[in-house]
Assembly symmetry: C2
Homo-oligomer: 163 residues x 2
Amino acid sequence: MRSEPRSGCAINAAVEVLGDSWSLIVLRDIVFGDRRYFRELFSLNDESIASNMLASRLRRLTDDGLLTREDAARGQRARYSLTEAGIQTVPVMVALGTWGMNHRRTSPELTVRARILAEHPELVSALMDELRETHLGVSLPDPEGPRASERLQAAFEAELGGS
Amino acid sequence: MRSEPRSGCAINAAVEVLGDSWSLIVLRDIVFGDRRYFRELFSLNDESIASNMLASRLRRLTDDGLLTREDAARGQRARYSLTEAGIQTVPVMVALGTWGMNHRRTSPELTVRARILAEHPELVSALMDELRETHLGVSLPDPEGPRASERLQAAFEAELGGS
């Protein structure tokens, strides 16, 4: 765990946990890439995270209560799951994605998802519900409809096809 | 200016600019504390920022296009202003404040504002319009009504009085 916070400010509290170059990138890969294991988080990362950096971020996010790590049986890989606090970083990522999309050079194909989420707040909530099901075992209110990830993927494909 | 981004991802683009321990804290003090000069940003900061850190953040935020620095006349202090890109970090701060408030120990009196902004999205837009007036000289659509900062302050006082 951590030492005392620098102040009682809520923005500072979040910056102390999430304000570095990699924590939100690792969370992004878990949320949007459905990567749950060290090896895939390492090898599929677009920003070429170093393995010792990834190990250190996973340890800190677990210590800070954003991830849980399932103890692996002998010969099995340890799997990471988001906690509720981890899932609730999704709106932070959406806000950051909106800013990045509007003020930085980005790749069109890597920006479609950010734009769709910025324009459809209900999809953000649905995605968070889906993460609660996948990571926390909480049943979705309506398990019959298409999942948020599927709707996001469909919107993504429609967007690419239509432009 | 900076070297090439680590990837074309919009979230990464924002993390590269804002993902450190201090940039958003300095922006917070400018946005919510209306501090425009080095001396007040330094001496009033709740997290005890070091003066060399503050100088380095102000320089980088200016280089990255989130702040402008007005050249000071001899004997006068340089004043910092938010750019449009700087003003558009407000929703990121609101999202971070919401997360910090819900998942970390914070001071009630430093959290009221985060809660009011989380609950009143229209106040976030009004605050950004007010910043456009103060920092960019853009006239407000309705200059007759109470300003967002006044509404925020009134809501803050009502909240403290009522609890």
